[in-house]
Symmetry: C2
Subunit: 341 residues, 2 copies
Amino acid sequence: MLNAVDQALVGDLTGGPSPKQRRALAKIITLLESTRLDHRKRADDVLNTLLPKTGKSFRLGISGIPGVGKSTLIETLGLYLIEKGHRVAVLAIDPSSSLSGGSILGDKTRMERLSVLENAFIRPSPSSGTLGGVAEKTREALLVAEAAGFDVVIVETVGVGQSEITVAGMTDMFVLLQLPNAGDDLQAIKKGVMEIADLIVINKVDIDPDAAMRAQLFITSSLRLLGFQGNPDHASHPAEHWHPIVMRLSALQGNGVPELWEKIQQFEALQKANGEFDARRKKQSGSWMWDRIDAGLKNAFANNVAVQELLPSLSAAVNQGTIAPSVAARRLLEAMGHEFF
Amino acid sequence: MLNAVDQALVGDLTGGPSPKQRRALAKIITLLESTRLDHRKRADDVLNTLLPKTGKSFRLGISGIPGVGKSTLIETLGLYLIEKGHRVAVLAIDPSSSLSGGSILGDKTRMERLSVLENAFIRPSPSSGTLGGVAEKTREALLVAEAAGFDVVIVETVGVGQSEITVAGMTDMFVLLQLPNAGDDLQAIKKGVMEIADLIVINKVDIDPDAAMRAQLFITSSLRLLGFQGNPDHASHPAEHWHPIVMRLSALQGNGVPELWEKIQQFEALQKANGEFDARRKKQSGSWMWDRIDAGLKNAFANNVAVQELLPSLSAAVNQGTIAPSVAARRLLEAMGHEFF
């Protein structure tokens, strides 16, 4: 049951492109991000109302370390797509934003040309909470942007910690931006990000074409050595599955951006043809539900009065080695209630 | 409060080396591994009684893919250590053991020479449960082996999934065994195992000395490129912290095993001198407690009657896209009780 305010917001959101629509989108995302219980209940109702209108965009994840040129590429790609008739929403996940006040998309001077267009919508990272909490808000915002008719939703993240895995887990395709140097390659392999990338783009080819070529060769051979031959379910039908591709471009000069979009479209077509597209989305929905259940359980533990009373002394005892950690854990769970035993 | 049986077991365990001691150790570990509630309570009491006698061993983690030569190395090292007057316990974590019936240490013909010695104790992997559950039993078994006076406890694992991270998280030093080939190197980097290794040992140098040398050079330069300069807390005192070392040996021929032990002792001395040894153990105890709390919370969720009633229909709705995953998660948590909201 929507209240009158939310009813009006949903109407504006789903009423086609207009300044009112962009305002409604921003307001609904703000409602989703609120930690107030009444806001949360309203947001759930809004989400349920919008759900039938979601799911129709292509969800593109883009990651890379600071300085790799993410915003330059996203702006160039976004302008190119809008010219082709698409509507592009850009969301961000910045796990450091709660500390820094937001480094991704928080800077008003970024994506200046894209942000003024009616068919673009740019939203900075939610700025509070854990990575899991930030990710949940972004996942919900993505659904709302879809309900508003944005048909390409880009989710951007910086290459720190687990955020790439999180973004790959909520998008249809995950693109990793790399600088042309070997340390960057190994870092991406180490962090398991190379493994989940559907496409690897070596940016700044204009600065050092030879290094970019070497990086492309190294990454290509590494992917082969690591056995990334695409989805193993389709290993018996090589033509039906995607081999991660490594390409070079210059986001600054715009070279290679049409080719990038072509690769993205090839990927989308192949994934839809072989059933991977739907399978990936279903898997992501399930993981999302379980992630939130885990977070909720941890929250319940942290907020439990009996736990709060016992935790300091038991933690200290574990730290001093006077109780086995497993025994301390069982005592805390018992304190929550017998069904936790 | 120990019952009479457990009192006798504890007496045998802590009464010095004897066949009775090895039997008591095996029986207590079996008690720890039991899933029966009354056994679990007895095991907790035994653990608490033994706790003051634990913590005095050097805990050595050894990992590597199947075929790398782990058991050959562990037997050679174990025999060498017992000859030097040590008492060596070997435990294992094999996350696949619940499926396969145990591939590590399950084969009676493995470590034949070591297993017959009174100063050796070899225990196969617990064979049921999740990796977390298996790991908890091994952590507890490690404490019991320490209480029995084993002063070197080796925890072995195969290089699949998360088990290396788990073993590194319960030992004082983590040694990664590698085969001399580049695919193996990249796999270890990819899985984040290279990152947590304190020492990397390239085995089977007898088979292809040139390949072993190339692997050593590649891994050494990768570690530098990845920025593994030891603990960053000590970066300003390079002489006080450990740089991961890459060495070559032949476990089969026994070449390099005394040098390996020497490196292990250097590591131990340095870690104890700079405070890292204690810091690592304290951190591990805390993580262990929180791991078990997480597992207990998930268990409580899975066993909750209201959750069991709602889960099938809500999972199906998430899968069909008729409810947002976050909304489904909140409904399930609400069903557990209002304090979960």
